[in-house]
């Protein structure tokens, strides 16, 4: 079993259809974010953190001429095909290499590998006044029972890859805590919203790692919260 800090080991196959759980999260993210793009400021730079091959265009309709992609994995930043962008930057999310108030939006899809007060505070710092922060992360209601079943620890996620099982850091927090974290990082509680989202009815195929915790809890797979969406304005 391999464990890693970055996603270099996963990069070659992260977007493959064989990773059913990730694809189910894509379907859920697309549904959860479908109206969010319109809330994005019409102008200014957009920072996509933990970008991989880029999803800002796909999920939010953001033009590549506005997007700066940042990731701590060089391999994830060189995956092809990828969304167009202005610039790709290899760097940690917990310490963003930008001046204050640089971006009109900061987005991070499935930010669980680097979710924490440092990242949220950095996102707040680099946002302009009136800027928008959009993030998604796996829901506690889904992740906690699954990780208990898998016996892998609450701060770790597991990937089956062609070269074996890979463990990667993944922070899981409850919905209320996510809101408290954003508030501690500087966002105004009145202008931040955390919503929970479920697998769309037409999602297929469904990963066993989503159906197993649903079964354990005793609910239908479409009744289980699997994703949180955080939207906050500065």
């Amino acid at each position: 079993m391999t464990s890693l800090a970055g996603y270099d080991v996963l990069a070659d196959e992260y977007y493959d259809a064989s990773h059913k759980t990730s694809r189910n999260f894509d379907q859920t993210s697309a549904e959860a974010l479908k109206d969010t793009g319109t809330a994005l400021p019409a102008e200014g730079l957009v920072l996509e953190v933990g970008a991989g091959r880029g999803r800002a265009g796909e999920f939010l309709g953001t033009g590549g001429h506005r997007v700066i992609q940042l990731d701590n994995s060089a391999k994830m930043l060189t995956i092809e095909p990828r969304e167009p962008c202005l610039l790709r930057i290899l760097h940690r999310a917990e310490e963003l290499p930008f001046l204050e108030q640089t971006f009109s939006a900061v987005v991070a899809f499935l930010c669980d590998p680097f979710l924490g007060l440092d990242f949220l505070a950095e996102a707040y710092r680099v946002l302009r006044e009136g800027g928008l922060f959009v993030a998604t992360t796996p829901a506690y209601e889904w992740g906690a029972p699954l990780r208990e079943q898998l016996n892998i620890g609450s701060a770790t996620t597991r990937f089956f890859t062609r070269s074996g099982t890979v463990l990667a850091p993944s922070v899981l927090v409850k919905r209320e805590q996510l809101a408290r974290m954003a508030e501690t990082a500087g966002f105004d509680r009145r202008r931040l919203h955390v919503t929970a989202h479920r697998l769309p009815a037409d999602a297929s195929p469904i990963s066993p790692d989503i159906s197993a915790p649903a079964q354990k809890i005793g609910c239908d797979v479409h009744e289980l919260d699997i994703l949180y969406r955080l939207v906050a304005s500065k």
Binding site: A5, E94, F114, G116, L117, A155, V171, V173, Q177, T184
Partner: protein, 255 residues
């Protein structure tokens, strides 16, 4: 009444040696008496010798060995600490628990904390002392080891805090990163890292100051990453440090 795990290490070590000597001695004496009853006097010489060696070990060698491993001066410091802290241990723990309760934007149930006191330890028989940190209170929170553990001031975040004299924080994103940096940045050996709690991801060390001297370190850690320093209110933590300093004065550990 102190339970066995709370006893200082030298006392526990000496008790262990005594138990071994008594068990060996009793067994040897029993074998010797059986052999004498059977008129096997020559064979009885062997267990009798073992009995005498056990007695020699208990009355002479055990004290020498304990003194060598835990010099009397260090043991005396520990005994005095234990005695003086008796009425203050729980108050210091409560104070740390309140500090944990003041943290924001994190899961407080994932946080543990304790206090490390700066002491001089006598590592060799030459009477030369070295500063070290000893954990004098049990942890507040669900993780962490028992008290009376020593840390050299060259090691760990607590050692760094003592050396710099200012609050220190560090966060790790994974267990791998923790293992590597504990060795490359924090002075621990790989073997020492294996014996430590590796579930924690974020750490805070706050100097406790009395007068102009650092007398110890208030130490917090969380199993969540990126908790420190963002989750703390510096004024609250400084207040806790001052409270601990006052308790140490009350316990006559510092003057």
């Amino acid at each position: 009444m102190l339970s066995l795990p709370e006893l200082p290490k030298p006392t526990k070590f000496r008790l262990l040696l005594r138990c071994i000597a008594v068990i060996v001695g009793v067994f040897a004496a029993f074998i010797a008496s059986v052999l004498v009853q059977e008129n096997l006097y020559m064979w009885a010489v062997l267990p009798t010798t073992i009995l005498l060696l056990a007695a020699l070990g208990e009355f002479v060698l055990a004290d020498v060995l304990t003194e060598k491993l835990y010099p009397a001066t260090t043991a005396a410091i520990l005994s005095r600490l234990e005695e003086n802290l008796r009425g203050y241990h729980d108050r210091i723990r409560d104070s740390i628990a309140r500090a944990i309760g003041s943290l924001k934007g994190c899961d407080r149930s994932q946080i543990s904390g304790t206090f490390h006191l700066k002491v001089d330890v006598f590592i060799t028989l030459g009477g030369v002392s070295e500063p070290a940190l000893v954990q004098v209170v049990d942890y507040s929170g669900r993780l962490g080891g028992k008290r009376w553990r020593f840390t050299a001031i060259t090691k760990g975040l607590v050692g760094r805090c003592l050396r710099t004299g200012k609050p220190e924080a560090v966060s790790f994103s994974s267990e791998d990163e923790y293992r590597k940096r504990m060795v490359t940045e924090f002075g621990f050996t790989k073997a020492e890292v294996e014996n430590r709690t590796r579930d924690a991801r974020s750490y805070w060390a706050q100097p406790v100051i009395a007068g102009r001297d650092i007398v110890g370190i208030l130490y917090l850690f969380s199993t969540e990453p990126q908790v420190f320093p963002r989750a703390i209110n510096p004024d609250v933590l400084e207040g806790t440090a001052n409270e601990i300093a006052a308790y140490l004065e009350g316990a006559r550990i510092i003057t």
